[in-house]
């Protein structure tokens, strides 16, 4: 199987879907030619012409137009350069994209097949407005699906599933993953939503990690193995829909859980997942298990690299949390 990086895997998925369905259209800032800052759409405008189009610098128009266009029969796959920019078009995402089917037409059978792709994440000294991982806002919003691949293989299979989905999907790509290589089949395949991936099997503590946190959790697992502690690392891959069954199955085995997310800890996704775990256990008459969360500190993300490191999660911080639940 050929080894390619995540950029190339995403590019393959986009190309296959443009070929498969003439209603698939891409637009965003600098997507023509080499494909903007992150080179994901490289070469596609040469092959597909108008269907891969540069837009003005206008996030509201990029994302809002996707809503109108999807309602009228296109299958837009639009790009936001940074997930931080979702805040510019919150009305379009939260008040429109997420709600249109519910509020505008059970009888109209309104569908909004939209994918909004965007770069997320820190660790790159890009400061407070280009380093966030703002998934929690959108997990909080009924009507959206959230996808966050961590390998080139997943990136291709999940993006193709996202594009074929008839619901609006927010698709997050971590900056650190763009250059990471992995085996990716050249033929078509799809990875279904709501299927968590057990990245490492283990018996002592379940670690649910989101996005780039999977890499850090695997690093922590490697370290802790030396001390005889065995981590089971689970990547949910989609936060909505969320595969709680795999998580609960793992906890059944380990009896302890840590959830890791790159976003600010307060009101974050780990709080939500841990509460769901607690509720499922107590509703089933079981004893709650020791649990902990790891996330960014409750600060804006600082620029200076050592400060940024102090704020964001790390393998060491995961190890610390694991030790807390082991007691």
């Amino acid at each position: 199987m050929p080894e390619i990086n995540m950029r190339q895997a995403l590019n393959q998925a986009l190309r296959e879907e443009l070929l498969h369905d003439p209603t698939v259209h891409i637009w965003g800032e600098n997507v023509e030619g080499v494909g903007g800052g992150f080179l994901i759409t490289m070469g596609l405008s040469n092959e597909f012409g108008e269907r891969v189009k540069d837009s003005p610098l206008a996030e509201t128009a990029i994302v809002g137009a996707a809503v109108g266009a999807a309602y009228c029969g296109l299958r837009p796959v639009v790009e936001l350069m940074f997930a931080d920019f979702t805040y510019i078009c919150m009305d379009e995402i939260v008040n429109k994209m997420a709600k249109v089917r519910y509020s505008f037409g059970a009888y109209n059978d309104v569908k909004l097949p939209i994918v909004v792709r965007m770069k997320v994440g820190g660790y790159f000294a890009q400061s407070s407005e280009h380093s966030q991982t703002p998934l929690a806002h959108f997990m909080h919003t009924p009507g959206l699906k959230l996808v966050f691949p961590t390998t080139p293989y997943e990136a291709k299979g999940l993006l193709k599933t996202a594009i074929r989905d008839d619901n609006p999907v927010l698709f997050f790509e971590h900056i650190i993953h763009f250059a990471a290589k992995g085996e990716v089949p050249e033929e078509e395949y799809f990875i279904p939503f709501e299927e968590a991936n057990i990245r490492r099997e283990g018996s002592d503590v379940t670690v649910v990690a989101i996005g780039y946190m999977v890499d850090l959790a695997l690093e922590a697992a490697e370290e802790l193995a030396k001390e005889g502690v065995s981590l089971e690392v689970i990547d949910p891959r989609t936060l909505e829909p969320l595969d709680m069954d795999t998580i609960m199955g793992s906890i059944e085995k380990t009896g302890r859980v840590v959830v890791v997310d790159e976003d600010v800890t307060r009101c974050g996704i780990p709080a939500e997942i841990l509460m769901q775990i607690f509720e499922q256990l107590t509703e089933a008459g079981k004893t709650p298990v020791p649990m902990a969360r790891v996330g960014a500190a409750n600060t804006p993300i600082p620029y200076s690299p050592e400060l940024e490191k102090a704020v964001l999660p790390s393998a060491d911080k995961i190890i610390e949390a694991v030790k807390k639940v082991l007691v």
């Binding site: 209603t23 259209h25 108008e50 269907r51 189009k53 837009s55 003005p56 206008a58 509201t60 128009a61 994302v63 809002g64 137009a65 996707a66 809503v67 109108g68 266009a69 999807a70 309602y71 009228c72 029969g73 296109l74 837009p76 009305d91 379009e92 008040n95 429109k96 249109v100 089917r101 519910y102 509020s103 505008f104 037409g105 059970a106 009888y107 109209n108 059978d109 309104v110 569908k111 009924p142 009507g143 699906k145 008839d166 619901n167």
Partner: protein, 320 residues
Amino acid sequence: MKLTHEDKILLYRNMLRGRKYDEALTKMFNKGQVPGMWHSGIGHEAVGAGVATFLRQDDWLEVTHRGITHGLAKGLDARMWLAEHLGRVGGYAKGKGGHHCADREHGILIGGGTIGSCFPIAAGAGLAAKRLGKDQIVVCLFGDGAAQRATLHSCMNLAGVWNLPIVWVCENNLYSITTHVKNAIAAENIADLAHSYNMPGEIVDGQDVLMVTEVVMDAVERARNGKGPSLIECKTYRFREHGEGEIPTPYRTREEVKEWKKRDPIKLFRYLLLDEGVVTEEDLNAIGTKLDKEVAETVDWAIESPMPALEEAFTDIYVE
């Protein structure tokens, strides 16, 4: 566009039909039969009928919260619209959308609760219309209040750059709730904004249905022929308060309201039709009588439509 006698009578009927449904819902609201809010569009009927009567069914229309005449003239189902306002299961969204109404089959886009969100929706519809290549066009209505949002800039700019088939129609009724347009928009006229986006901009008397129709349909032809977007500003007035149930405050004078009511678009057109000898009083009265019957039947039907089952609250969030 050259209007025949029949076309003119249709315009009259569509204006009057909007007015009568508007009055019916206003009455129901004031009797406490409407759970939410209602923004009467009485006074705006010339714009409503003028923009919507001669569009194709597959053209797209984005209406405002005051857009009942417009929607009905485009093909909105009066029963489903009214039932939706009453929160009944027979409404467009089984009562879950309320004052939001959309109808894909009749080309009615998703208007919404956030003023100014119409611009990106219409831009996207324009893009789809252009790419799908079926000669469809988009008409996007918006108020002078909406014109104050930044979404206008980004989307009129996008439509200009991409040469999208969109007719932007402003219903300038002078007020955004109680704020006068002079205190909120720096330009002399909203139509002046057109220059910035490299499209024609025109001002029309929004109480004159023939003028609205003529100017809008010219812009529609332009858009359909690939010549891109246009901006039309209709100077109009809302005869009632911003929302039903609101008490008039001194933001506008009684004299001003009285002066504008002299220019009731339906009365003006009625005089014109009679003057032209196109129709007789009896013909026009007969149209009114027929509409009264239709509206009464619709109201009865909507009131009879059951409330949604509680389970409905939990459906239609995702496509399965």
